[in-house]
Each structure stands twice: as structure tokens, then as C-alpha cells.
């Protein structure tokens, strides 16, 4: 066994002292219970260990092959966004007390994390207009799947209704999660003109549903204008109404909590965390304060309590829902979640505050409206494709053009995006999804529009 810089007792001398105190002579004595025939003679070959300097050099050498949103301007979205991360968020999240700690099972020595996560839950409730938010799930897609499982338990029904305009990868995840339960996932079409859900079709599928789900803005960036009607429909048929949101839209737009939603899910990566190639991300889930819903929530919930010394404090609450107590009858298997991203989101939302979240929402609305119009003025391009109201994202159409080569071309001109969507929507094969963030200037958008015009020219 070779001594290593990051392993304190690995030097020969210490090993000897410790072994001799136990009356042993070799580390291998400690592995005498492992059947001889499976003990490896040589360690697996993963190469020689390297020191930090060389490691950093090698990492940079490999990573140089990535084109970043620093080198290029990012117009990609679809569930992960390159929003601005205030430096304070990185600073707080890199404090070892938050970075390295684990699940706050021992509340008295973990008040900081517990309060920060309670604040995250509270901030999400304010944004969504709901009463109870979970401490986090893995990402939007698994939050959606967990919402469906929750609805199935609450209603004891075996059907889930989702629009085709919901993110394709989320629909796939939903199917993966529900397949073992034998639950039907019914997809309903979107309106070809508006891009919003086809309410009539929704109504036609609503019987016996456990959950009716709307995503707003949907995958095309279109804000659903009938969340309330869908929620009413769900309730009239005994289903739960679930809504998927981009939380940044909720600074300026009516929250699902005011529109009849029972469950809200969404993505929180962009609330103060970087894109990181799509992970880690932050699955949001919030419900109305009815105990029949709260008791069915998956994963961790932080609650308020009091201490023996008479102070307000925080601890994990309603743990009998969770796997470590309920085992196979738990509401979910989730154990580790995405807590550090929840803390990041708490710092982010607090720092932005009321004015920040509202001005950000307005800026995103203005920027996307600007870019849509700029693109639509270019011959051969149409934006947006749908007539509904758009938030932050929209489809561009280049009629009759196959987009597959265009992203590469755009990358060479210094742009990430747009995203062709033909692989999910055959009928929209000549469309691509574009997103804006507040990081993009007017000049960035102008040059993107121009490059796109160039890019699609045959």
C-alpha cells in the first residue's frame, strides 16, 4: 500500500503502529474474511496517480475541446439555461459547511443548511403561489414523474394526460417511470396555429385521469393561456391539476397557485447554478397545503419546530413518507437530492429580490420579443412559428430547410443554438428552438439573427 497525500494514516509508520495495537501485522489481515479466490492480486489498471499540477494541465487540455458560453454566445434552452449567476451564489455554495456536509439528520449541528433549505422551500412557494415545496428532486423530468406517481396514489387512478408540447425528454422520463406501474400516458395534441394545448382533445382524454399536466411555457416557449380551464377540467373529473413552470417566468406572470394547480413542478438549475452540460439540475415540486397531498410528497421536507431552549429551529419533517422509515411503502426512493442547488437557489432568489425577479422577467420578455421580430424580418425565416404568447423561448422556421447542419455552422460563427427539433416533432422538421437570457445584448441578438439568416441560406 502506497502512502498518499490525501490519506492521513497511509504512511508506513502509522500503519504499523495501528496494526500492532490491534495485534496484527499486515493490512491484508483485515481482509481475511474475503474469499481468497476473489481477492485481486494487482489493483485494477486505471493508470498511475498524478499530482495536482499535472492533473489540472491534463484536465484543461481535454476540456479545451469544449466550446463554452464564454467563447460563444448561447441561444440554447430547452430545459437548461445560461442565466447570470451572481458571484455571491458561488461564494456561499463553496463554503465547506454547505459544500461538504450531508443530509441534516442531526438537526442541532445543521441549523444552517436546514434554515437555508426551509428558505428555499418558502421562496419557491412565493414564486409558484403554492403552500409547500419539497427540499428538491433530481430535475424537472423526475419531478414530473414523481408528481404523476403522487397523483396516482392520491386518486387511485391509472392514467396520466400530458400535452405533446411538453418537453420530449420529460415525456420519455414520465413513460420510463410509469411503465412498471402499467399506467397509461395519454398525449394530447397542440393547436397548430397557437401552439397551446388543444383543450378539446384534453377534455376528450380527461375521464379517469389521475393527473392532467400542462407545461407553461411549453417546449415551444408558448405560455398556456388556459391553465385555469385545464385545472377546472381536472377537478371536474376528479383528477389532480399539475403545471410545469419555468420559475423565472413567475416574476411577471400569474402563478399556477392562482390558477387552480394542485401540484407544480419545474426546473431550478438556472436559479443561480450554471448549465454544467445539463447536470446537476434542480427538480422543483410544490403542492397546495392539503394534507392529503403533502403526505404523498416524495423526498425531503424541512419544517419549523422549537428547541429545548425555547428557540425556533428547523428539522426534517414528515419523515414517515420517506424510504429510510417506510421502505417499500415510501412515497419515493429518493435519498440524496439536489440540496446544494436548492441553497444556491435560495441565495439567488433572495439576492434578486422582488425588483430583481420582476425586472428580469420583463427583460426576458422584451429580449425574446425583440429577437423574434428581428429574425422574422429576415427573408426565409419565420419567428415565432406559433401565435401564442412566448416567454424566453420560441421556434424559428426556415421553410423546407433541413436544420441538421446548421448548429455546427452557427458554432463556427460563435453561436450556440438554435436547437433543431425535427427529431422529436417530424411535422416541425424545419423548425428550431431558440432561447434568450439576460446575458445577451441587443448586439448579440442582432448578430445572431444575421448569422442565422446566413446559416440557413443554401
Amino acid at each position: 500500500m502506497r502512502a498518499h497525500r490525501i490519506v492521513p494514516n497511509s504512511d508506513e509508520n502509522t500503519v504499523k503502529i495501528m496494526l500492532s495495537k490491534m495485534g496484527l501485522s499486515s493490512i491484508s489481515d483485515l481482509f481475511s474474511d474475503v474469499p481468497r479466490e476473489i481477492v485481486l492480486r494487482e489493483p485494477p489498471n486505471i493508470g498511475e496517480g498524478i499530482e495536482e499540477e499535472e492533473l489540472e494541465r491534463e484536465a484543461r487540455e481535454i476540456l479545451r475541446l469544449n466550446l463554452t458560453a464564454e467563447d460563444a454566445r448561447c441561444f440554447l434552452g430547452g430545459g437548461i439555461w445560461d442565466h447570470f449567476v451572481p458571484p455571491l451564489v458561488d461564494f456561499i455554495a463553496s463554503r465547506q459547511e454547505f459544500l461538504t456536509a450531508y443530509t441534516p439528520y442531526q438537526a442541532e449541528t445543521s441549523q444552517g443548511a436546514l434554515q437555508a433549505i426551509f428558505e428555499y422551500q418558502s421562496l419557491i412557494c412565493e414564486l409558484t403561489g403554492m403552500d409547500v415545496a419539497s427540499a428538491s428532486l433530481y430535475d424537472w423530468s423526475t419531478a414530473l414523474a414523481e408528481a404523476a406517481r403522487l397523483a396516482i396514489r392520491v386518486t387511485r387512478r391509472r392514467k396520466v394526460v400530458i400535452p405533446r408540447s411538453a418537453h420530449p425528454e420529460r415525456r420519455e422520463v414520465l413513460r420510463t417511470y410509469l411503465r412498471p406501474l402499467g399506467v397509461d400516458v395519454v398525449e394530447v395534441p397542440y393547436l397548430g396555429e397557437e401552439g397551446t394545448v388543444d383543450l378539446e382533445a384534453l377534455e376528450g382524454s380527461a375521464d379517469d385521469a389521475a393527473m392532467i399536466y400542462l407545461e407553461s411555457p411549453n417546449f415551444f416557449g408558448v405560455v398556456e393561456d388556459s391553465v385555469e380551464a385545464a385545472a377546472d377540467l381536472a377537478h371536474s373529473r376528479g383528477a389532480l391539476a399539475a403545471v410545469g413552470v419555468d420559475p423565472l417566468a413567475l416574476g411577471v406572470m400569474r402563478p399556477p397557485g392562482e390558477q387552480g394547480a394542485d401540484v407544480v413542478v419545474g426546473e431550478g438549475q438556472h436559479l443561480g447554478s450554471p448549465m454544467s452540460f445539463g447536470g446537476p439540475s434542480l427538480g422543483i415540486m410544490a403542492v397546495r397545503g392539503e394534507m392529503r397531498l403533502v403526505r404523498q410528497m416524495p423526498g425531503r421536507l424541512i419544517g419549523m419546530t422549537v428547541s429545548a431552549d425555547g428557540l425556533r429551529g428547523f428539522t426534517m419533517a414528515l419523515q414517515t413518507r420517506e424510504q429510510h422509515i417506510r421502505q417499500e411503502r415510501a412515497t419515493s426512493n429518493i435519498t440524496s437530492n439536489e440540496s446544494l442547488l436548492a441553497i444556491r437557489a435560495a441565495v439567488y432568489l433572495t439576492l434578486l429580490g422582488e425588483e430583481g425577479i420582476r425586472s428580469l422577467g420583463l427583460k426576458l420578455v422584451a429580449s425574446s420579443a425583440y429577437l423574434m421580430r428581428r429574425i422574422s424580418e429576415i427573408a426565409g425565416l419565420e419567428a415565432p412559428v406559433f401565435s401564442g404568447f412566448h416567454f424566453k423561448e420560441f421556434l424559428v422556421r426556415a421553410e423546407g430547410i433541413d436544420w441538421s447542419e446548421i448548429p455546427e455552422r452557427m458554432a463556427r460563427s460563435g453561436f450556440l443554438g438554435p436547437l433543431p427539433i425535427g427529431r422529436w416533432y417530424g411535422e416541425l422538421y424545419d423548425c428550431a428552438l431558440t432561447a434568450v437570457t439576460e446575458r445577451l445584448t441587443k448586439e448579440d441578438m442582432d448578430s445572431f439573427a444575421d448569422a442565422l439568416g446566413e446559416g440557413v441560406r443554401p
Binding site: 490519506v7 494514516n9 490491534m22 474474511d33 474475503v34 481477492v39 485481486l40 485494477p44 496517480g49 492533473l55 481535454i62 476540456l63 479545451r64 475541446l65 469544449n66 466550446l67 458560453a69 451572481p86 461564494f91 463554503r95 459547511e97 456536509a101 443530509t103 442531526q106 442541532e108 449541528t109 443548511a113 437555508a116 433549505i117 428558505e119 418558502s122 433530481y138 423526475t142 425528454e169 420510463t176 411503465r179 411577471v252 406572470m253 400569474r254 450554471p274 452540460f277 445539463g278 403533502v294 419546530t305 414528515l318 424510504q323 417499500e328 419515493s332 440524496s336 440540496s339 446544494l340 432568489l349 433572495t350 434578486l352 429580490g353 425588483e355 429580449s367 420579443a369 458554432a411 441587443k442
Partner: protein
């Protein structure tokens, strides 16, 4: 006695640090300005005109605070939290080892943090290469040739593993196999994951030595058996020395062997999972491969499978084609996707960096010292009054061990919970308690390879003093802790009268005020 005090910011009569909603503003917060020319171009004077009136929102309800106030608030909260660099953190089953800073540094490079999952493959070759190399290293370490890096945590990996088993059995026309065998000492998530994947759970008892009861396993295994989920060493920290028989029983019944990698740290570089007959496994990269736990995530739960099961992995899979790396979506019998995108990439980068730094020899250093430390600590603690070793006495443990404080409770009325709370007053993090459930008053201790000898001795001294105190003055232990930011919390109340958000808190207070005094 060591003198330790956790920071305590008590800024109100009955609270520590106020909630962000209770703090007062002043000054300005962030403001995002719309660039000049944009509104003119759109022909509006006010951006609100761009939003249909019935969709607009008047108020959100977020606080309005300046940056210095926010910074102090969260720094104070962090000071009231205990991390791995605060001191010993023997939280059994969680492998709370030191997280090297170089990994953090690399993961914070923009080439990691600011790349988008939908960029063209040609522009993320570095990211794909790291994922590929990590998969290759994990394959070497486990003997399982094919990996998916998609799962966001261990439990997510278990779910995926169970789905793979299910799909494989269906493919073989063995879909009637609907029972998953799980030892009673297993982690709660194993049972829950199996159930989520549609299996009935059949619990297998432990024998007198704390191992899987082979007789019971033989009796339970049969035509309905889909597989067995187990971890080795098991949650008692004992190596399942009958693992080859266990595998044989499961396989000959027609089931698959699933391995929960939470305890891999014990045998890193010493035993291949494949040689134990494992078909499917998840690894907790945030445990064994030292990526930070983040107060409960993000983690990563890579899933590996033996030859013959690779066609069920979730899409996409990272592959090498010549000197290029690609995301392959054409996995013929895939179980589907279990999340968006490709996995917790930033976490994967840290695990990659850690393994590069360790190298082949370092793997054994890690497991060797982790096991050395655990055995040493066990040998120092097992003779103390009130302590007993219910399983594994007189034989080596692996990376962790489980004490029972049942004798202490019998003699003094002081419970494992109380001792755990008192440990905090010594500036150490308590172990995992009341797990595994087959041990009464369980104290599950995992020192990891990151604690030095002097720190282990300190921990032992703290335990000695507490056990002495328990004998002399049990009430004082029962009222611990007193040196943490806050005294003992009423956890039951948080469940009995749930207040889970600022909103619920305000409503509750309003209700109480409405009722008035008396």
C-alpha cells in the same frame, strides 16, 4: 475535555438568524435593464404591454435586500452548519471523506460549467471524453464493462438497475418473475427502488453472524425471483463471505444479482464486483469517489452492467468512434430515459479528477486505510461500558462497524440518540444512528480514510467521557447538546404541526393572533 462551541447567532428573543422574509431592506437589489432601442423597436413604451393583461402578475412576495445583508445572512447560516472540514464526520454508510479542492477547481472551469447539453457534439468533445474515460475507469474498478452515468444519485441508480433487471427478464420471456429479494439490513432506498420498478419485495433475514441467511435465501429463491439487491460489505460493515454461494443461489433460481455500491470504499481496488457474480451495480460517486455531498446532493449514481445487459442501458450512451466521442441514442432495448440530459456532469468531472489523482495504487491506499481506521476505532470502542458489538465480534470489520448502545440504555436510560447529541458538543459529527434496523440502539460508524490517528483517538476520548457521564449523570446527556447553535429540537412537533414554509408560518401566526390572548 475538548472545548468546542459552534457559532451561534441569536438575533431575536426566540430565534437565531431571522428568515430572509423577516429581514429589513433599504438600498437597492438587482435590477435588470432593458437595453435602449429594444422597446422602441417593438413599438411599446412599457414592457408590461408585451404581456397579455390576463397573464400579468402584480406582486411576487420576495424579500428586498442588499447584497451585504444577503451575504451576512448566508455566511452566518453556514457557520451554524457542520462540514467534513469542520472535523470528524463518521456518518456510517455515507463515506464522508475529504473532498479534494483540485476537483472543485476543475469543475468550476467554464469548460465544465458553461456548456449546454444541446450543443453540437463537435463542440463538447472534452466533456464526452471525460465521461468516456470515467466510464472506462469505473469498468476497470468493478469488472462490469458497460456504464451509464445518467443517474443523479445512488437511489436513482437502484431504480435504473431494477428497471434493467425487469426489462431483461421480460426480454427472456420471464416477466412473471416479480419478486425482489432484499436483506433486512439493506438501506431503505433498496426496498423503495424495487417497489418503484414494480417488484414485490421479499425480505431475507440475517443469520447469527449478521450475514444473509443462506437457508432463508434458498427457501425464498424460486420461479418468481427476479433478483437480489445487496451491498457488500453489508450495512453492518461485514463482508458477506458467502457471497459466491449467494450469487449461485440467485443465479440458479434464474434471478440477477444487484449490487448497491454505497459501501464500495471498503474493497476499492481489492475485489471486482464481477468476481462476486454481480450482474448490475450502482456506485455512489459522492461517497466512494469523493465528490462533495452538498448537504444532501448533488450526487451521481453510475450504473454498471455485465456483458449481455448493455442493450438495456438508458439513452444516450457515450461512445468512442475512432478519435471522436458521440452520444449514441440507438440502444436497442433501452429501458428509456430516467432523467433529462446525460447525468450530473459537474459531479462526474470531480470523480474523474479524483480517480486520476489516486491512480491504481491509490485505490488500495483508500480502501486499506478506510478499513484500518474502522478496525482501529472499533477495537478502541468495543470494550467501553454500555457498548456492545452485536455482530462481527472477534472478526475484522470493513470500512465501518455498528455498535449497539442497548446495554447503556438498559443501565442508564441514556439512548443512542442522546449519546449522538452529546457527541456534537465535542465538535464531532455523530454517527448514523438507528440504522441498520436489525441492531438495537445502533451506532453506525465510518471513520473513512480521511481521519488521522490523533483524530480517531480524540473521538474515542469523547466517547469515553460521554459514557462516563451517562453513568454518573444521565440527565445531562439526555439534555444534550448545549454547545451547538441550538439546543435539542422537538422533531416530533415538526411532524405533528407541520410548518413547511414562510406562508404556512404566517397563516399559523395569523390564526393564533385571531384567537387572541387566553
Amino acid at each position: 475535555m475538548r472545548d468546542y462551541r459552534q457559532a451561534r447567532w441569536r438575533l431575536g428573543e426566540d430565534f437565531l438568524e431571522p428568515l430572509v422574509f423577516e429581514m429589513k431592506g433599504g438600498g437597492g437589489s438587482y435590477k435588470f435593464r432593458i437595453e435602449e432601442g429594444i422597446l422602441d423597436y417593438l413599438g411599446v413604451s412599457d414592457p408590461w404591454q408585451l404581456i397579455p393583461p390576463d397573464l400579468r402578475r402584480d406582486e411576487v412576495g420576495l424579500p428586498s435586500l442588499t447584497e451585504p445583508r444577503v451575504a451576512r445572512h448566508f455566511v452566518r447560516l453556514s457557520q451554524m452548519n457542520y462540514g467534513v472540514e469542520s472535523g470528524p464526520y463518521w456518518l456510517g454508510s455515507c463515506t464522508m471523506k475529504y473532498n479534494p479542492k483540485i476537483s472543485e477547481k476543475i469543475a468550476s472551469l467554464p469548460q465544465v460549467s458553461r456548456i449546454h447539453p444541446y450543443q453540437p457534439e463537435s463542440t463538447v468533445q472534452g466533456a464526452l471524453k471525460i465521461m468516456f474515460e470515467l466510464s472506462e475507469m469505473l469498468a476497470e474498478i468493478t469488472g462490469l464493462p458497460h456504464f451509464s452515468l445518467q443517474p443523479a444519485a445512488g437511489a436513482h441508480g437502484e431504480f435504473l438497475g431494477a428497471l434493467i433487471i425487469r426489462r431483461h427478464l421480460e426480454e427472456l420471456g420471464e416477466g412473471r418473475r416479480d419478486e425482489m429479494l432484499i436483506p433486512v439490513s439493506a438501506h431503505g432506498s433498496n426496498f423503495a427502488s424495487a417497489a418503484m420498478a414494480g417488484f414485490k419485495v421479499v425480505k431475507i433475514p440475517a443469520d447469527g453472524r449478521g450475514r444473509i441467511d443462506l437457508g432463508a435465501l434458498r427457501a425464498a429463491a424460486g420461479e418468481r425471483t427476479a433478483g437480489l439487491m445487496t451491498t457488500n460489505p453489508n450495512t453492518l460493515g461485514l463482508f458477506e463471505d458467502g457471497i459466491l454461494e449467494v450469487a449461485e443461489v440467485v443465479h440458479s433460481a434464474g434471478g440477477l444479482l444487484y449490487y448497491d455500491g454505497a459501501n464500495l470504499n471498503a474493497i476499492l481496488g481489492r475485489v471486482l464486483l464481477s468476481s462476486m457474480g454481480v450482474d448490475v451495480a450502482h456506485l455512489n460517486l459522492h461517497k466512494t469517489f469523493s465528490t462533495p455531498h452538498g448537504t444532501g446532493g448533488p450526487g451521481a449514481g453510475a450504473v454498471g452492467v455485465r456483458e449481455g445487459l448493455q442493450d438495456y442501458l438508458p439513452v444516450p450512451v457515450v461512445r468512442r468512434e475512432g478519435d471522436r466521442y458521440v452520444l449514441d441514442y440507438s440502444v436497442p432495448k433501452t429501458v428509456g430515459r430516467i432523467r433529462s440530459f446525460y447525468g450530473n456532469f459537474a459531479v462526474l468531472v470531480k470523480a474523474w479528477a479524483y480517480l486520476k489523482m489516486l491512480g491504481s495504487e491509490g485505490l488500495r491506499t483508500v480502501s486499506g486505510v478506510a478499513v484500518l481506521n474502522a478496525n482501529y476505532a472499533k477495537s478502541r470502542l468495543e470494550g467501553l461500558p454500555g457498548v456492545e458489538v452485536p455482530y462481527g465480534r472477534g472478526e475484522p470489520c470493513k470500512h465501518e462497524f455498528v455498535l449497539s448502545l442497548e446495554p447503556l440504555k438498559r443501565e442508564t436510560g441514556v439512548r443512542a440518540l442522546d449519546v449522538a447529541k452529546r457527541l456534537m458538543d465535542y465538535g464531532v459529527h455523530p454517527p448514523t444512528i438507528y440504522f441498520p434496523p436489525i441492531v438495537r440502539e445502533a451506532f453506525m460508524m465510518e471513520p473513512t480514510e480521511s481521519d488521522g490517528l490523533d483524530e480517531i483517538e480524540d473521538y474515542v476520548r469523547a466517547m469515553e467521557e460521554i459514557l462516563e457521564e451517562a453513568a454518573e449523570n444521565p440527565e445531562s446527556v439526555k439534555s444534550a447538546p448545549s454547545r451547538t447553535a441550538i439546543g435539542r429540537l422537538d422533531e416530533a412537533l415538526a411532524t405533528k404541526r407541520p410548518i413547511l414554509s414562510w406562508r404556512m408560518y404566517e397563516n399559523k401566526r395569523r390564526e393564533e393572533e385571531g384567537r387572541g390572548p387566553g
